[in-house]
């Protein structure tokens, strides 16, 4: 279905860039869900790693003029290192406190991006760069002008990451993560090294979210501190919950709904903030299991 998205998107009144954005956010939401839905740990600061991936990619292109793929790789490396360090700092916390610290760390990076004008462009964002055509050596893929080509590029990266996540989740490692989610104490008694597993899950989750961030930067040819703000972190969580935390593809559906909704609402009214806020409230009150969660229970009944 995703493969032919650019074609049917236009038919339903969307446009290719929207589809690309959904894919990017979907990847981000699914990465978050690796930690949230499958390990049972809430991070409300994932935007930090998304943003680090984005800024890393952008700065790599701006200052070192690397190709698109190496740029994303660089962004991912930067974000993953940060995740490893921060993860180590906060691994002893749980529940509400873990969530709080992730929020705080998210804001740290927001401020750095905001203040470090010379390097990051501050509030105005980082401009003066754009994604370059990908040179495979034997052929060149023009992803600069061609929206569709970029969509497929993003989709390819998405597919690689998602496949990796699926493999990990089906492995013994993935199984132990689910065990941790279900009953941490019992998992501990079973000999599962909790701290290490949670840390690893955190790092992996941030790794993939930073790939999404890199794609995001490339998509817009622009990046600004808002990509790091707690707003985005919250949006990612709501996407995961809206689509269904317990399912693998849920967050993608959540992302699709959320991105489309945001796009539509902001073109209709000034008060889109209230609508988004209302979405949060309604989802938590009435649809905590998300779309796929509801469909599943519907199927059983």
């Amino acid at each position: 279905m995703l493969l032919f998205a650019p074609f049917w998107m236009n038919a339903i009144g969307g446009y290719t860039e929207l589809a690309t954005r959904i894919v990017v956010m979907g990847l981000a939401a699914m990465s978050l869900n690796f930690l949230l839905g499958f390990t049972g740990v809430l991070s409300f600061g994932h935007a930090a790693y998304f943003g680090l991936g984005a800024y890393g990619t952008a700065m790599a292109i701006k200052y070192w003029a690397v190709g698109s793929i190496p740029a994303i790789v660089l962004g991912v490396i930067v974000a993953t290192i940060a995740a490893m360090i921060i993860g180590a700092l906060i691994i002893k916390l749980r529940g509400v406190y873990f969530a709080m610290v992730t929020i705080a760390f998210g804001q740290v990076f927001y401020f750095i991006a905001f203040r470090w004008n010379a390097v990051t462009g501050g509030d105005d964002g980082l401009t003066g760069w754009r994604r370059l055509p990908i040179n495979f050596g034997f052929a060149e893929l023009d992803i600069v002008q061609n929206d569709r080509a970029f969509y497929y590029f993003a989709l390819a990266i998405f597919a690689v990451c998602v496949a990796a996540m699926a493999v990990l989740l089906n492995s013994p490692f993935g199984r132990s993560l689910i065990a941790i989610r279900e009953n941490e104490r019992r998992a501990r008694f079973l000999g599962v090294p909790i701290e290490f597993h949670v840390w690893l899950s955190f790092v992996i989750s941030c790794l993939f979210v930073s790939a999404a961030g890199g794609l995001y930067a490339l998509l817009n040819n622009f990046i600004d501190p808002r990509a790091l703000r707690v707003d985005l972190s919250g949006n990612l969580v709501i996407m995961a919950v809206l689509g269904g935390m317990r399912s693998f593809w849920g967050p993608l559906i959540g992302a699709a709904i959320f991105v489309a909704l945001q796009d539509y609402v902001s073109s209709q009214t000034q008060n889109w903030m209230s609508v988004i806020g209302l979405v949060f409230v309604l989802v938590v009150r009435f649809f905590p299991r998300g779309v796929l969660g509801m469909l599943r229970t519907g199927a059983k009944a």
């Binding site: 949230l36 809430l42 409300f44 700092l89 906060i90 002893k92 916390l93 749980r94 529940g95 509400v96 406190y97 969530a99 709080m100 610290v101 929020i103 705080a104 760390f105 804001q107 740290v108 401020f111 750095i112 203040r115 919250g234 969580v237 709501i238 919950v241 008060n271 903030m273 209230s274 988004i276 806020g277 209302l278 979405v279 949060f280 409230v281 989802v283 938590v284 009150r285 905590p288």
Partner: protein
């Protein structure tokens, strides 16, 4: 010490007092009910705007007395409607819900009162300086410190000497037992929430006088409150108070020596504390889970 340093430390203490006032409200709600009230900043803004609307009718002092309880009442309504159903569940849900509420609050205040800053009138005699040598000792700042000290002192007194306070403290440690002992836990949580929001409203009225009033006033103050709780210690109100003051002074000092890092310094402190003592300076063992 030079005037500049003194000024900034004093300013830092004032700001820290604010952070502490807000953080204490947040901490109260967090400790008893396990709810991260992301909308706390929104309540602060509401308190401020309510006061702003009331001032022409009942004056500054009237607003100072009336606006916080009004905000608390609104808080109680919201608690009853929206937050109560979430108590048994994963903290994820209350965080998401209050996050959404924060959005709604900010947008609604923008809708009702406009997106621009509005002038907040404080009685003229409060604004003047108390001493020609220490120009920064404006009456308003001293007044604020006094009110905050009174509020905090009042809070601690209530917690220590009244039955409600005792129940809250007990509930923080072991809510199930408190419930089996016959205390109406639902009412307890609501009242606790109300007290927390009262503090937010009060902080709002005071903050507006110092910082000026615009729809984003709440959002700016909520992150330092989080940090104050983390630094001061999870589960400890005294820790939150100290945490708030500490980060206030830290950012005041940073303003002197590293002006561009004034906001960042509180996060640096947080990282340091987490590294050395993950449960916070006065945090309790076992609060981590």
């Amino acid at each position: 010490m030079s005037q500049v340093v003194l000024f900034n430390v004093f300013n830092g203490l004032i700001v820290g007092a604010f952070y502490a006032l807000m953080a204490l409200g947040l901490s109260l709600i967090l400790n008893l009910s396990g709810v991260i009230n992301f909308a706390h900043g929104g309540f602060l803004a509401l308190g401020a705007y309510l006061a702003y609307t009331l001032i022409p009718y009942i004056g500054f002092w009237g607003a100072l007395i009336v606006a916080p309880p009004l905000t608390a009442v609104l808080g109680l309504v919201i608690e009853w409607l929206l937050i109560r159903p979430l108590y048994g569940k994963d903290p994820l849900y209350s965080l998401l819900l209050t996050f959404g509420l924060a959005y709604i609050f900010e947008d609604v205040t923008r809708l009702i009162w406009g997106a621009q800053s509005v002038p907040f009138q404080v009685p003229g005699w409060l604004m003047s300086s108390l001493s020609s040598q220490y120009f920064f000792l404006t009456g308003y700042r001293v007044f604020m410190m006094i009110i905050v000290a009174a509020a905090v002192g009042g809070l601690f007194a209530v917690l220590k000497y009244t039955r409600l306070g005792m129940r809250i403290r007990a509930g923080t440690r072991d809510l199930d037992t408190v419930s089996t002992l016959g205390v109406n836990v639902r009412v307890l949580r609501s009242l606790n929430f109300g007290i927390g929001i009262y503090m937010a409203g009060l902080a709002g009225v005071l903050a507006a006088g110092l910082l000026g009033l615009s729809p984003t006033i709440g959002a700016n103050l909520i992150m330092p409150s989080f940090v104050a709780i983390i630094v001061g210690g999870l589960g400890s109100l005294l820790g939150t108070l100290i945490g708030g003051l500490m980060i206030g002074v830290a950012s005041g000092l940073a303003a002197v020596y590293f002006p561009s890092a004034t906001e960042a310094v509180i996060y640096v402190m947080m990282a340091l504390v987490l590294l050395v003592r993950p449960r916070g300076l006065l945090g309790e063992e076992g609060r981590l889970h």
